[in-house]
């Protein structure tokens, strides 16, 4: 039973990583950049939740506010900071993204203080299935992330906009020849990624109800690792990588001898993947243009 509990915890944590990793991977695939400020969107979402929760007492309103604010923030960052750099060297874009990341963290520190704050959504209790006892919030997170990932996959595969996203990631010029506004597709990508980040912020706070200005840093790095392990640019890869990391985290935590080395194991896997299959487990080798 203990193994089953750990499995469910791992899947649930992995689902949250996957949601963040999808944001990383979609932006990489479509806008061709690593958005290192992605983790900090999670943090902004978290503070928005806190502020609206204190204001209204209604978690649903707080979640909606966080999603809306993160979408606006993500889209504005893209327009102001990244769009002018389209066609610039990848290094310039990367440094800009790191700058945006520090900017967001600093703004959070100035406006929200540097001490961690508690964000509590009330105790949801536990669910019992015979011998199996499991936290309700874990099940809520697990089911929600599954629903979100399935919905997103269907959207990408079958909607006009979703297909335009695949097309843009593959061949920007040819996509324009279809009459598709590539800039609009990039904006939509940032919007979706940011909405997922806001949701990930909520699920993270559900699990660990504490927020500070660096709240998004670790999940951001973990999700980036997940995206690279799965194959950056690939959405199924991000899902796979995220869930793999969640499982590793929860299972290693159960074994006292290796529990302190969880991070080392995860990043070790990253290094091995980068050495053995740089395109990631589910990533495809891009045909280099002649």
């Amino acid at each position: 039973m203990d193994i089953l509990t750990t499995l469910i915890n791992g899947l649930s944590q992995g689902g949250v990583y996957a949601m963040i990793a999808i944001g990383y991977t979609m932006v990489y695939g479509i806008a061709k950049m690593l958005n290192f400020a992605h983790g900090d969107i999670i943090m902004v979402g978290g503070y928005t939740l806190l502020i609206f929760l204190n204001m209204t007492g209604n978690p649903l309103i707080a979640i909606a506010a966080a999603i809306v604010l993160c979408i606006v923030l993500g889209v504005v960052i893209e327009k102001v900071a990244y769009k002018p750099l389209r066609g610039a060297s990848p290094l310039a874009v990367l440094i800009t993204a790191i700058g945006v990341s520090y900017l967001l963290q600093s703004i959070a520190q100035i406006t929200q203080g540097s001490n961690a704050k508690m964000v509590t959504f009330g105790d949801m209790g536990v669910l019992k299935f015979g011998e199996l006892v499991i936290q309700t919030k874990t099940v809520v997170t697990l089911i929600s992330t599954i629903v979100i990932m399935v919905a997103l996959s269907i959207f990408i595969k079958y909607s006009k906009t979703g297909r335009a996203m695949i097309a843009t990631s593959e061949d920007r010029a040819a996509t324009q020849l279809m009459g598709i506004n590539v800039n609009k597709i990039i904006t939509i990508t940032f919007a979706i990624g940011s909405a997922l980040a806001a949701l990930a912020g909520f699920f993270s706070l559900l699990e660990t109800p504490q927020i500070s200005s660096t709240f998004g840093a670790m999940p951001g790095i973990k999700a980036f690792t997940a995206a690279v392990i799965g194959g950056i640019g690939s959405i199924p890869g991000a899902m796979f990588g995220g869930i793999l990391l969640g499982l590793i985290e929860c299972f290693t935590a159960k074994v006292p001898a290796i529990a302190p080395y969880t991070g080392a194991i995860e990043f070790g896997i990253l290094i091995i993947i980068l050495l053995v299959k740089p395109s990631g487990i589910l990533g495809k080798k891009r045909r280099e243009k002649v």
Binding site: K160, R163, A164, I166, A167, E170, D171, A173, A174, T175, Q176, L177, M178, G179, I180, N181, V182, K284, R287
Partner: protein, 236 residues
């Protein structure tokens, strides 16, 4: 009035000038060809007309409207598109999805369905492979798909950049048959080719491009008979 009018177009790649002021026009209902050796500036011309590479000087007018600075996707909405050099089908999408992408500007979904059926009839190989990922198709099949995909938006002006490149003689003939077919249906064609013989034979008019300049122009027939063209492009 010409359907497409290019005037004194200049394009640079960094400091390198690829187009040194070229002017030509395409009238409604014509097949016009630009011929020229590798590196002459044919693809640059096409991409600049299409808004994919910015022009440094000169103008492009379509249907009386100045489109020099218009982004590519908007130009497609005006009724002009391109089959790019090297086909550029979406490798990760299926044949069917590629065709659907081609119909992005179309509102009438029933018409889109009919268009796709028509393409499957015209290219049975594509029909048989409609759920196959386009990256797995042969070069010839990809060219047919690229041509079918471009027609999905019902362009008034279709530009084709070296559609016969890398194809077997049999397929080259097929490609030219399709071009003639599209033309018969009322599509104006601007063709770019290294295969001068075949393209001049189907063209109303043609221009010869050399080092970013137009050096010769005339009807297809005139150019086929011209000594300069014979020497440089028809192997004798």
């Amino acid at each position: 009035m010409a359907l497409l009018e290019v005037k004194d177009l200049e394009v640079y790649y960094g400091v390198i000038q690829a187009l040194k002021g070229i002017s030509f026009e395409v009238n409604k209902g014509e097949i016009v060809t630009l011929i020229g050796a590798n590196g002459a500036g044919k693809t640059t011309t096409m991409q600049s007309i299409m808004g994919l590479i910015p022009a440094k000087a000169g103008s492009v007018t379509y249907n009386g409207q100045d489109i020099t600075k218009m982004p590519g996707h908007k130009i497609v909405h005006l009724g002009m598109t391109q089959v790019p050099e090297g086909r550029h089908v979406f490798q990760e999408l299926t044949v069917y999805e590629n065709l659907i992408m081609g119909a992005y500007t179309q509102k009438d979904q029933k018409q889109v369905k009919r268009d796709i059926e028509e393409i499957y009839t015209r290219f049975p190989r594509l029909g048989e492979r409609k759920n196959q990922i386009a990256g797995t198709l042969s070069g010839g099949e990809q060219q047919m798909l690229a041509m079918g995909r471009a027609m999905m938006c019902h362009p008034d002006l279709l530009m084709l950049d070296e559609p016969s490149m890398g194809l077997s003689p049999l397929l080259v003939d097929q490609v030219f048959d399709i071009i003639k077919d599209y033309h018969k249906q009322g599509t104006t064609i601007l063709l770019v080719e290294q295969n001068a013989g075949k393209s001049l034979a189907v063209s109303d008019r043609a221009y010869v491009l050399e080092n970013g300049r137009i050096v010769l122009s005339g009807t297809g027939e005139e150019l086929l008979k011209s000594d300069e063209v014979k020497k440089a492009y028809l192997g004798g």
